[in-house]
């Protein structure tokens, strides 16, 4: 359909889609994990497994 240029057009659209989806997924997952972390902290930070578990579940605080 695009002739010889398909080998460039398709990857261009594919990578645009991948980056767009990746951005959305990254932000949405970050949102959910931060909400979980806040809920956990507001419950009193019950986790006694130490700071490692904190950092693992909250991802970055930045």
């Amino acid at each position: 359909m695009f002739g010889k240029h398909a080998a460039f057009i398709l990857p261009a659209y594919a990578i645009t889609l991948v980056v767009a989806v990746a951005l959305v997924v990254w932000i949405v997952l970050g949102y959910r994990s931060r909400q979980r972390e806040i809920a956990r902290l507001e419950r009193g930070g019950a986790s006694r497994h130490g700071r490692k578990a904190d950092r693992a579940s909250s991802g970055e605080t930045r």
Binding site: F2, G3, K4, H5, A6, F8, I9, P11, A12, Y13, I15, T16, V19, A20, A22, L23, V24, I27, V28, G30, Y31, R34, Q35, E37, I38, L41, E42, G45, D54, S58, E60, T61, R62
Partner: protein, 252 residues
């Protein structure tokens, strides 16, 4: 936040009402689905227009890549302008959410910049035979990427986001002021080394058949950016809340 209630001025503008993080969160929750939906629709229209446009006699079907590359480059610059405005918000107007806006925008802008470079490369290869050319536009976008990544690195290096706000704002504005100078120098450098040939990604007088899809895609990208931006601002506000909660608990 106190200034609203104590002065005799009329009801605070939406700008100041939005300065309250909690109010912003509710605003964000309401607005995001609409923005996202609108972005999707406009993108669909743009893609349809683009794919139904005729083939460019010079570029053939690769003009389709232009509909991805040019808006990405425009957004890369627009995002930096949003960051610069936010930087002014932090330094001059001391808007409480200005810094949140800056930090939230940076990774998104970097992503668009990267996308502009990759699609630019894919656009250039079928036409010019190489995966990369040091032409004025691609080179400027590459420098912009480095600026973005430097700012993100600075943001990550300073532990406390509130402490980081001013340095980030200042460095963003220093970059903003230098970007026209960089663009000018890169253009000069490029014409020095390619005196005879036409600028590689020169924009010929664009036929309406190509201009409309381009503008529509640019609008779609813009809507998409603001959707992501507001979503990420939510994340940034939550992250600060988490930090405060953790510090409070550690202090006990």
């Amino acid at each position: 936040m106190n200034q609203d209630t104590q002065t005799l001025s009329p009801a605070p503008s939406w700008w100041m009402r939005l300065a309250n993080p909690t109010r912003f969160m509710t605003f964000a929750d309401r607005v995001i689905p609409w923005l996202a939906g609108l972005a999707a629709i406009v993108a669909a229209v743009g893609l349809w227009l683009g794919f139904s446009a005729p083939e460019d006699y010079q570029q053939g079907a690769t003009v389709l890549i232009m509909f991805l590359h040019v808006p990405a480059a425009w957004l890369a610059m627009m995002c930096y302008s949003v960051m610069s405005l936010s930087a002014l918000g932090t330094l001059v107007w001391r808007h409480p959410l200005a810094d949140v806006s800056l930090r939230a925008a940076a990774p998104i802008g970097a992503a668009f910049t990267l996308l502009a470079l990759v699609t630019g490369s894919l656009w250039g290869k079928p036409m010019w035979g190489t995966w990369w050319v040091w032409d004025a536009r691609l080179t400027s976008v590459l420098v912009l990427l480095i600026i973005y990544l430097g700012l993100i690195a600075l943001a990550r290096a300073i532990e406390d986001p509130v402490q980081a706000a001013k340095p980030l704002a200042i460095m963003t504005l220093v970059g903003f002021i230098n970007i026209p100078i960089i663009k000018f120098s890169v253009d000069w450098w490029n014409t020095l080394h390619q005196p005879a040939s036409v600028s590689r990604f020169a924009r010929p007088a664009m036929d309406a058949a190509f201009l409309y899809p381009l503008l529509v895609m640019a609008l779609a990208y813009t809507l998409f950016f603001f959707t992501l931006h507001i979503m990420n601002m939510r994340n940034e506000i939550l992250a600060r809340r988490i930090r405060v909660l953790k510090l409070r608990q550690a202090g006990r």
